[in-house]
């Protein structure tokens, strides 16, 4: 009898352990939504591969990027992306020469239009690339933004 009880006890304990580990997995799956490996990529191609699974982009002018010629303040560079297309899934902003080029990745829900504006930090003069994913393809546009050392604005 005692042995039976002991067995029952271990079985119940095991079930609790399984339930606990399953519970622990839930917040982890939610957090996984943030594309860690893409943000930690050290070059543009690795970042594109991590975020979209390809590095082939169409740069024929469907995407427009608006950024200053010269960054007055390198820690606050205003970037605006405009893409007049249907079926856009996401818009990414990439600063080519930053230590981790992928800066922001926006996912568009139903009704959202191909427009986003934000401010980014730049380590040095670099191309800023906007990548739009629509209907399974990537479309891009880029613009060079000069960052002046010494901050005298020119």
């Amino acid at each position: 009898m005692k042995r039976r009880l002991f067995l029952k006890g271990t079985l119940a304990g095991g079930a609790i352990a399984i339930a606990a580990s399953a519970g622990l997995l839930i917040p982890r799956t939610v957090m996984a939504a943030w594309p860690k490996s893409a943000f930690e990529s050290k070059n543009v191609n690795d970042a594109l591969n991590a975020i979209a699974g390809t590095t082939t982009t169409d740069s024929s002018g469907k995407v427009k990027i608006n950024a200053p010629e010269i960054a007055e303040v390198a820690s606050e560079v205003r970037i605006t992306v405009d893409a007049d297309m249907d079926g856009i899934d996401s818009i990414s902003i990439i600063v080519e020469k930053n230590p981790s080029p992928l800066t922001a990745h926006f996912e568009l829900g139903a009704g959202a239009l191909g427009f986003v504006s934000t401010r980014v930090k730049m380590a040095k003069t670099s191309n800023v690339i906007a990548v739009v994913k629509a209907n399974g393809k990537l479309y891009s546009a880029q613009k060079e933004v000069k960052v002046t050392v010494g901050g005298c604005g020119g």
Binding site: G111, V116, K121
Partner: protein
Amino acid sequence: MADGILIRSKISNDVTLVRSSMKHPMETGQRKDKKTGKNIPAHFIQIATFEHNGKVVFTANLGPAVSKNPYISFKFKGGKKGDTIKMNWVDNKGKNASSEDTIR
């Protein structure tokens, strides 16, 4: 304004423009503390979610290179005056904040 979030939503010709800013240091983890000489740990918003009447309409995944006190604006179709726009952010330390506004 709640938790340092500013959010404004304005509709014109069926297109709603949502503008938002969040109070946050956005530390990259690469800056040195001048006194100790050690790197200041990374501390940045990772995800900001925007809901229109309870449905996610826009999700911003941010890296540490987004400027301090992040500014984000976007546009969507299908909103009406008086609809609710709610935004919520969570940072790499698990801290979060939210705020809401109505479309005007």
